[in-house]
Symmetry: C2
Subunit: 330 residues, 2 copies
């Protein structure tokens, strides 16, 4: 049985939305066991009395979004996140899902669960939407590392391409390097060197990609240094959110005519919003650790958590970590 | 009289839209003279016979968007861009406006017009929109430099803050550093060091800003290394363009109901589009050169070029370059 550790206390809708999502996924995932870490009395109220697919591990502390990551890991030893990470480290669970403090989760992942031997640095990898299909693309690293070296990016590309193939079902994923121009000699020394490494690798490397092309579906995997990736991911999310917010505002506060128009165009507007709904892709995976760690947005609802649970099940079923371990140990 | 060199051959709508814009601006800018560089017969057809505010300098070549910048500057010696840059260098014109190849314009700016003594590197600075007002914000550098050093960023911040104050009329511009987190110790070594330099400077430094906050109007000037700035600018533009395109598509191709809805909501949709209309801010300025160089999007229409001409007039009227020269020579 695959055992998934669930940090039940992270995120805005914890633990209710998390429990709801796991209970829904559980019915489909008969080979999985879900271990909830969190407030015992709250969890007992939400969970069925007896269920062999479910276990509760009571914890008394919670890492908050405003907590400093390293300090939180060190001092909140009985937090849902830290205890869950320790269970994974000790082999009592096979993967970790959290909606909590991103920095703290990265810290727990790296220092408690640990890096795969041969992997220089783990990379954080979400799946993002593209304009013209529901396939999306993976981008790595979006902020696990403030400074990056060429060899990190090569390994991230390799792991992300494997993920795209095995978990998302993309045959021969097209791998591109985020750069400041199309030509091979673009970028700073780091990106020039990575370009050559990717070109000489066995990956299906398609060259450089620029910021404005990201959502156009030109690549299945985009590799970037963690600093740029972080800025780009947040810029895309921020831009989409500002435009959609302004649009809603404009339609709702411009009199009856605009409101009626919005009502008539509802389905069309919804279809745009659904293309940019990233919930269906699951959470961001911290690739390169001894066990899978998945981070979901703190504001995720039960539907998003449900997809993250299914994503983890798939990562475990395909034994991604086992493959990485044998691959990078060479 | 202020003399503005106009590369009349760059951009998708050259030279018609450029001439149209200058003729409109000319009526308001009686102290300016406009020197057009380009195809003589085309320009003669579009321009009035005798006008002391206008001069034509015939050139026979055009630098194309697909041309390699350094090679283009060296080989297309009679191109509108290169000849215009030489006029500025020789003091026969005071500023340069082009809608052509960005890389070539940067190259001509740096190698022909030259850096101000004491400025380590010029930075490219557009004005971007914000969600809640028409003020916008400046971001520097968006790609003139693939590699950046701390001292470059400090100088860019100083020049951009001065621009925001004098040209855009922002009192005590709030200067922020694009980084991967809010706290002072975030980022790689470069950004940590720049944080301290900005903190110790006389600028109104408000701390770090993250990608998702850029369009929220939290800063008047955002300083960033040229690699990240390039990726972020293109990501914002790409995301806005994809969403607006999908929206139009959704409204036009979802039957009569959606079309009618779009018609009714037209004004509301237009108000969103107008907030994201960056034409009113003019073009991107290459700050740190011996004379002002402004780059307009290649797809700009006459309206956008008109604003860029007014922007250059203001930069010259406020003698930005003169101030920078005396400031950085210290």
């Amino acid at each position: 049985m695959r055992k998934i550790a669930i940090d039940a206390m992270g995120g805005e809708k914890a633990p209710e939305a998390i429990v709801e999502a796991v209970l829904k996924a559980k019915a489909e995932l008969k080979e999985d066991k879900f271990i909830f870490f969190g407030d015992e009395s709250k969890l007992r109220q939400l969970l069925p009395e007896a269920d062999e697919q479910i276990e509760i591990v009571p914890t008394t502390e919670v890492i908050l979004d405003e907590d400093e990551p390293v300090k939180a890991m060190r001092t909140k030893k009985d937090s849902s996140m830290v205890v869950a990470a320790n269970w994974v480290k000790e082999g009592k669970a096979d993967a970790l899902l959290s909606l909590g403090n991103t920095g703290a989760l990265l810290t727990c992942g790296i220092f408690i669960i640990g890096r795969i031997k041969g992997v220089a640095r783990p990379g954080l990898m979400p799946t993002m939407p593209v304009e013209s299909s529901d396939d999306g693309f993976n981008i790595i690293d979006v902020g696990a590392n403030a400074s990056s070296k060429p060899e990190y990016l090569l390994q991230w590309a390799e792991m992300a391409a494997y993920y795209a193939e095995k978990v998302r079902g993309v045959a021969k994923p097209r791998v591109a390097l985020l750069n400041n121009g199309a030509e091979y000699d673009k970028g700073d020394d780091l990106h020039k060197e990575v370009y050559q490494m990717l070109k000489e690798s066995s990956l299906n490397f398609t060259g450089n990609i620029e910021g404005h092309e990201l959502l156009q579906g030109k690549a299945d995997v985009v590799v970037t240094d963690g600093f740029t990736g972080n800025a780009v991911l947040k810029s895309i999310e921020g831009t989409a959110s500002v435009i959609i917010h302004m649009l809603k505002d404009g339609l709702m506060n411009n009199g009856v005519k605009a409101k009626l128009g919005a009502l008539l165009a509802k389905d069309a507007l919804k279809s745009v919003a659904s293309r940019f709904d990233t919930a269906k892709y699951g959470g961001a995976v911290l690739l390169g650790l001894n066990s899978p760690v998945v981070k979901q947005h703190g504001r995720s609802d039960a539907r998003a958590v449900y997809y993250a649970v299914k994503q983890i099940d798939k990562i475990l079923a395909e034994d991604l970590v086992g493959t990485f371990k044998s691959e990078f140990a060479k």
